[in-house]
C-alpha cells in the first residue's frame, strides 16, 4: 500500500518537475513547483519522517512558495518564448541533464539501503535532542544565515523606497 502510494507520488513529482522546467509562464512554473514540493512532503510522511514532512509543508510549500508567487505576480514577467525544439543549446542542455541524471541513477542504484529503523525513528523527541545537542553549532550558524538574509532584504527593500523618491535608478 505504502509502496503504491510512493510510486504514485514519485510519478506526480516527476510530472510536476517537468512542468516547472518547461512551462512558458512563470506563474505556472511556480504552481508546478508547489505541487512538486507537496509531493515530496507526502513522500517524507510516507517514509515516516513526520517532522520533516511537516516542515516541508510549512517552510517550503507554505512560506517559500508564497514568496515566489508574490514575486511572480509583482513582476508579471512576459511569457518566455521557448523557441523551436531543435534549438542546439536547448538540445545540448537536455542531453547533459539526461547524462547527469543517468549517472546519478547509476550511482544511486549501488546505495546500500537497509530498513532497520527503530520504532521511534523520526520522532520529534529524538530529532530535537539531536538538533539542540550535537547540532547546536550549525543550528546557531543558521541564525546568522537568516540574519544575513534579513540584512539583504533591508538593503534592497529600503533602497526601493529611496529610489521611488528619486524617480527610479538610472541605467548606469
Amino acid at each position: 500500500m505504502i509502496f503504491a502510494a510512493k510510486c504514485v507520488m514519485a510519478l506526480l513529482a516527476v510530472v510536476s518537475a517537468f512542468g516547472v522546467a518547461l512551462s512558458r509562464q512563470a506563474v505556472h512554473s511556480a504552481l508546478f513547483l508547489t505541487c512538486n514540493l507537496l509531493c515530496v512532503a507526502v513522500l517524507y510522511l510516507l517514509m515516516s519522517l513526520h517532522f520533516l514532512g511537516a516542515a516541508q509543508l510549512l517552510v517550503y510549500a507554505g512560506a517559500i512558495m508564497v514568496v515566489f508567487l508574490f514575486a511572480v505576480t509583482v513582476l508579471a514577467p512576459e511569457d518566455e518564448l521557448l523557441g523551436k525544439w531543435n534549438d542546439p543549446q536547448r538540445l545540448a542542455g537536455v542531453a547533459v541533464g539526461a547524462v547527469l541524471g543517468a549517472f546519478l541513477l547509476l550511482a544511486n542504484s549501488t546505495a546500500p539501503l537497509l530498513d532497520l529503523s527503530s520504532p521511534d525513528f523520526g520522532s520529534l523527541k529524538q530529532f530535537a535532542s539531536e538538533l539542540f545537542g550535537k547540532y547546536v553549532f550549525p543550528f546557531e550558524g543558521t541564525a546568522f544565515v537568516l540574519l544575513v538574509a534579513l540584512v539583504g532584504v533591508v538593503l534592497l527593500g529600503h533602497r526601493r523606497l529611496r529610489d521611488l523618491d528619486r524617480g527610479g535608478p538610472s541605467r548606469d
Binding site: S118, D120, K125, S129, K134, P138, V145, V151, L155, D172
Partner: protein, 490 residues
C-alpha cells in the same frame, strides 16, 4: 535503541575566539548600524577595523598550541584554520579602509560592513568545518553575503548584472555540492569529515560520484577552469573593494576547504591504492593544469585592468591548486605563504584599481598611458604589484612561486607534479606578457598631467602597507616560513 540524551557541547572558547569576534561584529552592525542608523557613519568602519586588527593580533601573537576540535568536533581550530582566518581578517581590515564614494553615498554603509563581517564569519566557519552540514552552512553564509555585496551599487547596471550572475551560478554550485554531500552521507553514514575519511575506501561508486560533485562545487568557488565562467563578469561588475575581498578571502576559504577534504576525508586510507583518493587527486591535478594554462591564455587578450586581474586570479588559483594536489607538509607551508603574498599583491592591485576609479581614471590599457606622470605613486605601486604577480625576483611573488615550485619538484618519481611545474612556468612566461604590458603603458607617454585629484589617504595607507609587505615578505621569507611551518605542525 536508547533515546539519546541531550549532549552538552564541550566548548573551548579559545578556539572559538575568531568566530565569536566576527559574530559579535556582525550582530553589532546589525543592531547598532542598521536598526538604529546613527548619524555618524565612521563608527562602523572603526569597529570593523578594530575587530579585524584585534583578530590579526590574536591569531599571530596567541602563543597557545592549536586547540583542536570544538563543539562535538563540528569545528576544528588548528594551524590551518588559524592561518586561513588570519588571511581573512587581514583582507577584511584592508577592505574596511577602502570605501568608494559610490558605496558611501548609497547611505547603506551599515549594511555594507554587516555583510562584510558576515561574509568573513562564513569563511572562517568554512575553514574550520569538520562536518558536511557546517561546510554547507558556511558556504551559504558567505555566498549570501557576497551576492548582496556584489549588487550593492544600485545605480550601476553592471553591479546588478554581477550580483544576479553570481547568485544564479553560485546557487547552482551549492545545489551540486549539496547533492554530492547527500551521496557522501549515503555512502559512509556520517557527516563528520574524519569519520568519512576512515570509511571512504568502502564507499564505492556512491562515494566517488559524491566527492566528484563536491569537488566540482568547491572548484566553482575557487574559480578554477572550467568552473571559472562567472569570475571575470562578477569581478568586473562588483564594487572594487568587494572584488578584492572576494578574490582573496573566498579563494582562501575554498582552498582551505579543499585542503581539509583532500587529506582528511579521502586520503586517510593509507597508502593503499585507493580509488577515491586517486580520483580526487586526478580531479585536482586536471583543474590545476587547466586553470594555469587557460587562465593565463585568456588573460593575454584583456584590455581592462580589473578584468585582467580576474583572469590572472584564475591562473593563480591554478598554482594554488597545484600545492593542494601535492598535499605534502612543504606544499602546505608554501600554499599558505603563497596565499599571504597573494593577499598583499592582489589586494594591493585592486586597491590601486579602486584608487584609479576614485580619481576617474579609465582602467583600459590604452587610457593608462602616462599614468606615471598623472599619478606617480599609483603607477609605481601598480608596477610593484604586477611585478610581484609576475614573480620577478626582488618581490615576494618570486619567493612564493619559487617555494611552490620547489615543493612540487620534491615529489620523487611521480611525474604529475612536474608537469604542473612545467605548465606553471609556461603560464608565468605568458603572464609576464600581459602584466608588463600594463606597466609599460603606465610608464609610457600619455596626456599631460592634469591637476592632481586627491586620492583618499586610507587608500594610500593600504597601498603603502601592501608595497612594504611585498618587499618585506621577500626579504624575511625565512622567518615567516618557519613560523607557518611551526603553526602547521610539520
Amino acid at each position: 535503541m536508547m533515546p539519546q540524551q541531550i549532549l552538552k557541547p564541550e566548548l573551548a572558547w579559545q578556539g572559538m575566539v575568531p568566530l565569536l569576534m566576527l559574530a559579535g561584529l556582525f550582530v553589532f552592525h546589525f543592531l547598532i548600524e542598521i536598526l538604529r542608523a546613527p548619524k555618524s557613519r565612521t563608527t562602523g568602519g572603526f569597529w570593523t577595523l578594530l575587530v579585524s586588527l584585534l583578530g590579526v593580533v590574536y591569531l599571530t601573537a596567541c602563543p597557545d598550541q592549536p586547540v583542536g576540535a570544538v563543539v562535538h568536533k563540528m569545528w576544528i581550530y588548528d594551524g590551518v584554520t588559524r592561518l586561513g582566518s588570519l588571511l581573512v581578517f587581514l583582507s577584511l581590515a584592508a577592505v574596511t579602509l577602502i570605501i568608494p564614494k559610490s558605496v558611501e553615498e548609497s547611505g547603506h554603509l551599515g549594511e555594507y560592513y554587516a555583510l562584510l563581517s558576515g561574509a568573513a564569519l562564513g569563511m572562517v566557519m568554512l575553514m574550520g568545518s569538520n562536518n558536511l552540514l557546517v561546510t554547507f552552512l558556511a558556504l551559504e553564509l558567505f555566498s549570501l553575503a557576497l551576492y548582496l555585496l556584489c549588487i550593492f551599487l544600485p545605480d550601476r547596471s553592471t553591479s546588478q548584472e554581477s550580483g544576479l550572475k553570481y547568485f544564479i551560478l553560485s546557487s547552482l554550485a551549492s545545489a551540486v555540492i549539496l547533492y554530492g554531500m547527500a551521496l557522501i552521507y549515503g555512502a559512509t553514514g556520517s557527516t563528520w569529515l574524519h569519520e568519512i575519511g576512515a570509511r571512504a575506501s568502502q564507499g564505492g561508486l556512491l562515494m566517488i560520484v559524491g566527492s566528484t560533485l563536491l569537488a566540482a562545487g568547491l572548484a566553482f568557488k575557487v574559480s578554477a577552469v572550467p568552473f571559472h565562467v562567472w569570475t571575470p563578469d562578477v569581478y568586473q561588475g562588483a564594487p572594487t573593494p568587494v572584488t578584492a575581498f572576494m578574490s582573496v578571502a573566498t579563494k582562501t576559504a575554498a582552498l582551505v576547504a579543499l585542503l581539509r577534504f583532500f587529506p582528511m576525508t579521502l586520503g586517510m586510507a593509507g597508502d593503499t591504492h585507493d580509488g577515491v583518493r586517486t580520483m580526487w587527486a586526478i580531479i585536482i591535478w586536471s583543474l590545476a593544469m587547466l586553470s594555469m594554462l587557460f587562465g593565463n591564455l585568456m588573460a593575454l587578450s584583456q584590455t581592462n585592468l580589473k578584468r585582467l586581474l580576474a583572469y590572472s586570479g584564475i591562473a593563480q588559483a591554478g598554482y594554488l591548486l597545484g600545492a593542494i594536489f601535492m598535499g605534502t607538509p612543504i606544499a602546505k607551508v608554501s600554499l599558505f605563504y603563497y596565499l599571504l603574498v597573494y593577499l598583499c599583491m592582489n589586494v594591493g592591485a585592486f586597491v590601486v584599481v579602486a584608487a584609479l576609479e576614485e580619481v576617474d581614471e579609465s582602467l583600459d590599457v590604452h587610457a593608462l598611458a602616462g599614468l606615471s606622470m598623472r599619478q606617480p605613486y599609483l603607477a609605481a605601486a601598480l608596477a610593484v604589484f604586477l611585478f610581484s604577480l609576475t614573480g620577478l625576483p626582488p618581490t615576494a611573488g618570486f619567493v612564493a612561486k619559487y617555494q611552490l615550485f620547489s615543493a612540487l619538484m620534491a615529489s620523487g618519481p611521480n611525474p604529475l607534479p612536474k608537469y604542473l611545474v612545467a605548465a606553471a612556468l609556461v603560464g608565468s612566461l605568458m603572464s609576464a606578457g600581459y602584466y608588463l604590458r600594463f606597466v609599460v603603458q603606465a610608464y609610457g607617454l600619455g596626456p599631460a598631467p592634469e591637476p592632481h585629484k586627491q586620492i583618499p589617504p586610507t587608500y594610500l595607507a593600504v597601498i603603502a602597507t601592501a608595497v612594504v609587505a611585498v618587499f618585506a615578505l621577500s626579504f624575511w621569507a625565512g622567518p615567516v616560513l618557519e613560523w607557518m611551518q611551526r603553526l602547521l605542525g610539520t
